[in-house]
């Protein structure tokens, strides 16, 4: 039996690893389609002639396509993602520096969305077809339809401008430093509230709907009737039996969501000037810094692929029907 899982995991990782070079090659080709001189694209419009020529040399831009690809892949392999001419530093460094902040934002937002999504979904399922259910379903539909840049700005309008409850932008107030860890952490948290709530509200609808449907299916299953017939207390039936089964699909969906909220992260970071990879993307766009953009794209894609693999593996462990195939 255990051999079965290990094989499956291995297979899954291999497929994922195959995706990674596919993505890289895809970006490579996409870049090649861009109009204009690729060397200029990579060096930046304000670069000197010598610099442009140097770039041409390093990346072999005069050579045939497949040779360029090999050079490119080779560089990526050694961690050389190119050089950002806006930041005057290696692309990889620039990106990695901002990853923790993005993870903080995205992670918090997702956790809030999942937690409240499940709670509201369960409540809606238990009170199916009552006013509570209708209110929850309607509200989630509305939040699902609002674009995040509108929602975030409404939050700002009310909570920052009108009532001055939260800070507008950034990650930490000027003057507060990590030297005082508690004060620093509190300050960061204070800054984290609005952006993470914005992210959470947009995603929540998916989780509420999913939990509700899943829970209703679960509650009307045969094994719930049987559990009741055995004289188990309703509370126990609810949590141990109905909920546990209902939550399984959420794992899979959460994995898929990770890929879908990237757009939301980019926009939220922009609106709140949160110094993460999303905001970096916008800065790179404005400067037309192709090496940086390319690096961001490759790294984000790889992260999403890895996240999906992990989700799949976790699901395999949690559902005995899959584990013991």
């Amino acid at each position: 039996m255990p051999g079965g899982i290990k094989e499956y995991i291995l297979k899954r990782i291999l497929i994922g690893l195959f995706m990674v070079p596919a993505v890289i090659i895809f970006t490579f080709l996409l870049l090649k389609l861009a109009p204009g001189d690729p060397a200029v694209l990579m060096a930046g419009e304000t670069a000197t002639k010598e610099y442009i020529e140097m770039i041409r040399e390093i990346y072999g831009l005069n050579k045939p396509l497949h040779e360029q690809l090999i050079i490119y892949l080779g560089k990526l392999f050694t961690g050389d993602f190119g050089y950002s001419f806006t930041f005057k530093r290696p692309v990889l460094d620039v990106i990695l520096e901002r990853v923790p902040t993005t993870l903080l934002l995205a992670g918090t937002g997702t956790l809030i969305a999942i937690f409240f999504g499940i709670v509201l979904g369960v409540v809606a399922a238990l009170r199916k077809d009552t006013i509570t259910d209708n209110i929850i379903s309607s509200l989630t539909l509305i939040f699902y339809s609002i674009p995040i840049f509108a929602l975030a700005q409404f939050l700002i309008l009310f909570l920052v401008i009108n009532y001055r409850l939260f800070p507008l932008s950034g990650y930490v107030t000027i003057g507060v430093s990590p030297a005082d860890p508690i004060k620093y952490a509190m300050d960061v948290l204070w800054h984290l509230v609005l952006p993470s709530i914005s992210l959470a509200l947009i995603q929540m609808a998916t989780y509420v709907k999913l939990t509700r449907t899943s829970m209703i299916e679960s509650l009307y299953s045969n094994y719930i009737i049987a559990a009741k017939a055995r004289g188990l207390k309703w509370r126990r039936i609810l949590f141990k039996h109905a909920l546990k089964n209902a939550l399984l699909p959420i794992i899979t969906v959460a994995g898929i969501q990770l890929g879908l909220i990237i757009g939301g992260v980019v926009i939220t970071e922009t609106i709140f000037s949160w110094p993460g990879v999303g905001r970096l993307t916008i800065e790179a766009i404005e400067a037309r810094d192709f090496p940086l953009l390319n690096g961001i794209f490759v790294l984000t894609s790889v992260s999403v692929i890895i996240a999906n693999i992990v989700t799949d593996i976790v699901y395999t462990y949690v559902d005995p029907r899959v584990k013991l195939r």
Binding site: A150, L157, G259, I271, I296
Partner: protein
Amino acid sequence: MFLFRRSRSLTISLILLSAIIFFGLVAGILTDKEPLRTGYAQGLTPPSSQFPMGTDQLGRDVFSWTLYGIRTALFVSLVSTSLTVIISIIVGLPAGYFGGKLDQLLMRVTDFFLSIPRFILIIFAVIIFGPTLTNIILILSVFSWPTIARIVRAEVLSIKEREYVQAAKVLGAGNFDIMFNEILPNVMPPVLVASALQMSDAILAEAGLSFLGLGDPNMASWGRILAIARQAIYVGGWWTLVFPSIFITVTVLSVNLLADGLNDIFNPKSVR
């Protein structure tokens, strides 16, 4: 109303959509001001009888912008979604029907597109090819078809084995005949539901691009005025945020309700 009993969502969405489309069509009649023209007023002005939704910092009329924005949103989403559906059918129908190498290829491609972050890819592509209306529509179509194609394929697989298809085969109908006359009509219902969702996605995607400055500068897009609102709300210009937000939310909402409603009609037994 019979329709109302069959599906609340569908009725509401159709009412809303008709209203929105109506306003979009008569935009030219309701206002004489051009949406993107600056200088109608000296900077930010609040709503008044002359400017029902106020103006932005450069004196552009928000009312006009919001109304013409309907056209942008609906045009981009409708065209790109239609293209997506066409491509999906062209690819998905044979893939599901004939199976084999074509099918394998399709599955790999859709897997690939599902694992990469779509929004960044779209941004990337828009930068590379330039932010024009045509490009945006094409890019949105190209990056959306894998999901729908997958649905088409799945439906084809299940319909392929049904009796009326077998019957047609026995009667000597050719493959293409079968695909288009028997299978396609039955594939459409779930595809339509997915397309409606795709449409609302497209509206949000286009708005997102415009918000980030990557939209076609000649189009009155809601995303763009919402980007302007970022500065405006600090100095009290709430109208630049509120009105376009209401319009885009209601539009996306009605398309989502349309999807729900279509689902109600095609799958009456599903858990609600």
